[in-house]
């Protein structure tokens, strides 16, 4: 059923909302609104700070895709691990990593999550079970499968949530990992964030099989395609997938049909798609606007209440930006630390 619905989503290129949506409570909607707004405003601020030269190198923004991580997170449990590519800021914020630490890492400050030595693409939090932040396309799929391996090895009730894009899905190690994950029935959910462009290459130009949820079929891995712009569908599908993995049935693939509004990175002019395509998606399918409309229609909150939320979120982001801007560069002595762990010799 879900699969059939999902297919329709693909055909219409996620440009239309559906009617048979799962129920979302007031709490769900308000939570989703706040979390997604935090990611959106954080990313906008990061983009602005990049523009000011405060953030260097590559900076890949998650704007437009907020419903994916937020919905998945809502369906996960404390202790579940997550790992993703270099488009990772949203994934960190949603699991509760301090926005100040994330932003300070973006500016290369000593107070950043990785002491300023990782940068936008390389941030981790053991405390929040977040394993990066990986710069090599597809590498996180094997690594994430390894997290799931550890869960099973230890008999722990955790699920590894492994995010990758429609570009990574063509890497060889993804299939090596699919094979072993199913062979050993590892507790892993593979979340393909299909934003339709692998940098500048559209899905159709790079993939022989564009229904990416089918990519696990030859290994016997169940998959489904989900409207990744509507957080209700994301959460519902994620609950199903995570339960599947947690109950010992092995891996599960979720193809999230989503869209990134910005270029691949800050320095991508995004000429491979029309401005119309982007603005239509923003106008009709924006994940945050969808929630906002619902909240107002259901009187879960008033316009004024939402303005307060917006204000609070902006305050958090401004605080993070100020913190990051004022975070000093790492002490030069940090150059040679954290390379290997020096052991006390026995």
């Amino acid at each position: 059923m879900a699969r059939k619905t999902a297919k329709k989503v693909a055909k219409s290129k996620i440009s239309k909302a559906k009617t048979n949506a799962p129920n979302f409570s007031k709490e769900d909607d308000l939570y989703a609104y706040k979390e997604m707004l935090l990611i959106r405003r954080f990313e906008e601020k990061a983009g602005q700070m990049y523009g000011m030269g405060l953030i260097g190198g590559f900076c890949h923004l998650y704007i437009g895709q907020e419903a994916v991580v937020t919905g998945i997170h809502m369906a996960s449990k404390e202790g579940d691990q997550s790992i993703t590519s270099y488009r990772d800021h949203g994934h960190m914020l949603v699991v509760g990593i301090d926005p100040k630490g994330v932003m300070a890492e973006l500016t290369g400050g000593r107070d950043g999550l990785s002491k300023g030595k990782g940068g936008s693409m390389h941030m981790f939090s053991k405390e929040k079970h977040f394993y990066g932040g990986n710069g090599i396309v597809g590498a996180q799929v094997s690594l994430g499968t390894g997290l799931a391996f550890a869960n099973k090895y230890r008999g722990e009730d955790k699920v590894a949530l492994v995010y990758f894009g429609d570009g990574a899905v063509n890497q060889g190690q993804v299939y090596e990992s699919f094979n072993m994950a199913k062979l050993w029935n590892l507790p892993v959910v593979y979340i393909i964030e299909n934003n339709r462009y692998a940098m500048g290459t559209s899905l159709e130009r790079g993939s022989a099989q564009t229904d990416l949820y089918k990519r696990g079929e030859s290994f016997g891995i169940q998959g489904e395609q989900v409207d990744g712009m509507d957080i209700r569908f994301v959460k519902e599908a994620a609950e199903r997938a995570i339960e599947h993995a947690r109950s010992g049935k092995g891996p599960y693939i979720l193809e999230m049909m989503t869209y990134r509004y910005r270029g691949h990175s800050m320095s991508d002019p995004a000429k491979y798609r029309s401005r119309d395509e982007v603005s239509t998606m923003r106008a009709e399918r924006d994940p945050i606007e969808q929630v906002k409309k619902r909240i107002l229609a259901n009187s879960f909150a008033s316009e004024d209440d939402l303005k307060e939320v917006e204000k609070a979120v902006r305050a958090v982001v401004v605080e993070a930006a100020d913190f990051a801007t004022n975070s000093e560069q790492p002490d030069p002595s940090e150059l040679y630390t954290d390379i290997t762990i020096l052991q006390e010799q026995e």
């Binding site: 602005q48 999550l113 550890a150 060889g172 090596e176 072993m180 062979l183 801007t325 390379i339 762990i341």
Partner: protein
């Protein structure tokens, strides 16, 4: 308060750009995400989005302006209740948040040197310690089994390690003892299972990944270098990868170019890795145990042709050797020969010949290739004044090349002759028996090199 819109940098290198077009005009309402302008960089034309909401109060840089500096104020956004007239037309001279780096502590104040690494010495063994002659194969097997008995987090994974008992029988009997949960056969899929191993190590397990040979580890080298080696640094010390990558490395016998090569210098170049390449069974055992206990990713390079060779191994309860410590295999005063792994075979045989001919050779087995035990190397070279380096790998950018450079830098005044290298030849490994022999170093080449540096030839 009004908000300044600054000329954005749209690439890592952009310093200025052309403001080609405004898509908004004064008085327009904008909100976050609205495209307000187009900017041309040296590479492309990019769109600029508004980050804040409000009314465009003033446009300060007209469209068509060229060479607009990054961070110059290009427009002002008014917040609710503000009027355009409230805003000063002259932008503040110092743009907020410039990209200028914060003044750094000067280099004189901070010594930018790697943290000193002082390896411990080999453990003192009782003088009456019992020795047993065992193969390198057996030593490696004992090392893994002993460690696995003590630590449930350690597991062995690789191709044919379990039911087949190991392609080279290193893991013989381990499936029986530890079960299939801890001795795991993988599909032929190096990139994938290496990544899985590294991921498991991030999660706190201590995987031993066996490569049937290191020739196949090239499939997985991205995970070894980009994921395992760099993780600690990239995470600011948060996440380490306690993992051992082990297997046969170096030239084998008559297997041709793709299965017969030495990767020592490849891995030894990478910060974040520990690289070990033992020769004797005792070193294989003591160092593999240390590798498994290391919180760092360790590349442990074995040699297929040494697997069946027997050496004396001390029979003590827990024989562990220090990582990063070379072994002086023979003390001498005339010349230093330094080698590792199978190179030690040529070096040892040559030493016997040379000592017989009256040359007092000091022979050093590096054992660990990263970190290099330069202390031992330099002390020896300063004593003998002459040095010959022996290895099976290719000569270009090799371990010997590195040693030779460091000896030149740090012991130049002590040298009585140029440092000489005896290495594998700079060719893919040929199949034909005679050519293969020519491609490898030989005892005669080592003797000749020693004769050259001692001016005996």
């Amino acid at each position: 308060m009004s908000i300044e819109i600054l000329m954005p940098a749209l690439s890592p290198t952009m310093e200025e750009g052309n403001l080609t077009k405004w898509l908004v005009k004064e008085g327009d309402n904008v909100s976050s995400g609205d495209i307000i302008a187009e900017i041309e960089t040296d590479k492309a034309t990019m769109e600029v989005e508004a980050v804040d909401e409000g009314v465009i109060g003033k446009i300060l840089v007209a469209e068509g302006s060229e060479g607009v500096k990054v961070n110059a104020v290009i427009a002002i956004i008014l917040e609710e209740g503000e009027k355009a007239g409230d805003v000063a037309t002259t932008p503040p001279s110092a743009p907020i948040g410039t990209a200028e780096p914060v003044e750094q502590t000067t280099s004189e104040e901070v010594a930018l040197t790697p943290v000193a690494f002082t390896p411990a010495s080999d453990p003192d063994l009782p003088s009456d310690v019992e020795m047993a002659s065992i193969t390198v194969r057996q030593a490696l097997n004992e090392a893994m089994s002993e460690e696995m008995r003590k630590d449930e987090d350690i597991f062995l994974m690789g191709e044919e390690v379990a039911q087949y008992q190991g392609a080279y029988k290193i893991s013989q009997g381990m499936l029986d003892e530890f079960g299939e949960r801890r001795v795991i056969d993988t599909p032929i899929t190096e990139h994938g299972f290496t990544g899985i191993g590294v991921g498991a190590a991030f999660a706190g397990l201590k995987p031993i990944i066996e490569f049937m040979t290191f020739n196949f580890a090239m499939q997985a080298i991205d995970q070894i270098i980009n994921s395992a080696a760099k993780q600690l640094y990239m995470s600011g010390g948060q996440v380490n990868a306690p993992i051992v990558f082990r297997g046969a490395n170096g030239p084998a016998s008559r297997v041709g170019a793709q299965h017969s090569q030495d990767f020592s210098s490849w891995y030894a170049q990478v910060p974040g890795l520990i690289v070990i390449a033992p020769y004797s069974a005792a070193d294989a055992k003591g160092l593999l145990k240390a590798a498994i206990r290391s919180p760092n990713p360790v590349v442990f390079l074995e040699n297929e042709l040494l697997y069946g060779v027997e050496f004396d191994v001390p029979q003590v309860d827990d024989f562990v050797l220090p990582i990063g410590k070379a072994r002086i295999a023979r003390e001498g005063a005339d010349v230093t020969i330094i080698s590792y792994s199978m190179g030690m075979k040529y070096a040892t045989d040559a030493t016997e010949k040379l000592v017989g001919a009256g040359v007092d050779v000091e022979l050093i087995d590096l054992r660990t290739l990263r970190p290099l035990d330069m202390e031992t190397v330099l002390a020896s070279v300063k004593k003998t004044g002459r040095c010959v380096l022996v290895e099976e790998g290719w000569p270009i950018c090799s371990i010997a090349a590195e040693l030779s450079a460091q000896i030149m830098e740090k012991a130049f005044d002590y040298l009585d002759a140029p440092v000489m290298r005896v290495a594998g030849k700079d060719v893919p490994m040929p199949y034909a028996a005679n050519l293969e022999k020519l491609a490898l170093p030989s005892v005669d080449e080592v003797v000749a090199a020693v004769n050259a540096v001692t001016y005996r030839s």
